[in-house]
Amino acid sequence: MSVLDIARPATDYVAPQKTVAAAAIDARISEIHYGKFLAVRDTNIAIEKNKITGFIGPSGCGKSTVLRSLNRMNDLIPSFRLEGQVQFLGQDIYARNIDPVVVRRHIGMVFQQPNPFSMSIFENVAFGLRLNRYKGDYKQRVEYALRRAGLWDEVKDKLKENGLALSGGQQQRLCIARAIATEPTVLLMDEPCSALDPIATRIIEELMLDLKKDYTVAIVTHNMQQAMRVADTTAFFSVDISRGGRTGFLCEAGDTEQIFHDPKQDLTKRYISGEFS
């Protein structure tokens, strides 16, 4: 059985919108285009407050594209176009009067590849504070962010060293510290562990569980076990190739427990059983 056969039955299926009272982000995306290419269709998903929402699905299913649409990172790609709405605290972030820069200051992001700036560890974490013209105790704020990111003890004696001198796992935690130093409302993580070894991955997963007390987290992961370990809600995306291109869509979303043990969709069932990836 090929992926082709799997993708077909769900052609016109639209996952029902779950009504959630405490959603930090409520996305109702009908279409995302890159130029003429339809990358994502019919994806309605809510990111609940103080929970971790995991996005899983095979490659090319649009999970990263959807995640990046939640803080308008995709606007960096000139041909990007979104139809629909993404409500963040009651406002559509794609409304005409919204500046994407402001959106990104409230919805932080951690990327697949660790990407600290070529500056000192301290300045990396203080970057967002300076950007937002924070008037307060920088030292305290930086220390707090580094402690939350579980990096403080490793770097407290070398805060002046360049962030790029750290190991990959440390760099990723530095990026997390950088993202949370300004205390954004939501933290988006795009496969944050895919470039890391199992130990560093473990540390970051524990960190995520700790962070959800104060933040709302959405994470894209290619690793189903990771979603099972950390996510409260899991969204399964799939690929629809019936219209020529590879179009991603949200197939099923629900409590992680339910998605992994009692999936309602046949596609979900086959994906989590490892039939395709």
């Binding site: 990407n115 700036f117 967002g128 300076r130 360049n162």
Partner: protein
Amino acid sequence: MSSTDFKQDSGRSASRPPTTGDIIADRVFRGGAYAAGALVVLLLIYILWEIGFRAMPAIERYGFGFLTSAVWDPGQEKFGVLAEIWGTLYSSVLALVIAAFFGVGVAIFLTQDFLDARLAQVFRTVIEMLAAIPSVVYGLWGIYVVIPALRPVAGFLNETFGWFPMFSSSFSGPSMAPAVIVLAIMVLPTVAAISQDAFSLIPYKTKEAAFGMGTTRWEAITKVMIPTATSGIFASLVLGFGRALGETMALAMLIGNSNQISWSLFSPANTLASLLASQFPEASGIETQALMYAAIVLLVISLAVNVVGTLIMAMSSKQKVG
């Protein structure tokens, strides 16, 4: 020249050791590469030795006084290059400041998505073509275009801001100002090209990180891209400075070849390279030896700039790594 091979049982494997011919080719290539490398070093030593040998009589006769005197009088056999050292450094620094401003500006403009990629490539090529214009053509352009264009501006600046040292004399035609402007244009392609490389080498993920933190485009450039590209920009300035120090023909045509030390942009001055170019044809005896001494001074300044620049870059990259 045969080496041990691993014998296989089946004989089906295609793996064989390199042939004698392959090994000879490898060794010949390696030897050739070493020889070419050594030749460059030897050539530099030979040039230094040869010029030093010819300059020896002047070095013995004038010593360090050569560097602190500003008189160049072949009649009385009195020679000193203080004015030329001053003119060389002053013109190069000013030209570099202008070229750095525009060169780095151009690099940002061409690499930070302000232009459509194809148009940016056109601009890049045009700027690189500036480097292909012969020095003497720049000199002619300076004489026929820059100097006449500067005359009214310089007159105004001297009359209105004459108290400011840089505008403190009346415009003499060939002088520091046109020399600096033309020199800046000549150095610009070097600065622009190498800073462009520095910006292009910044990975996309760094740009993403900046925008992900919620920077505006201006903030991303000033707070992330420029700091990240610093060492490359610095390298472009060192190379540009080296180029400015040694530039000869255009300066000999524009700077006025006068041995004076002045802050004023409108006074004629001289540089080491243009001194060599303008005096050499008629020099003989001790003056030739003095010019050789001047050449050594120029060589030492250029080498010092490159060595210090390289050291600073090495230090900053060491800091980065660990």
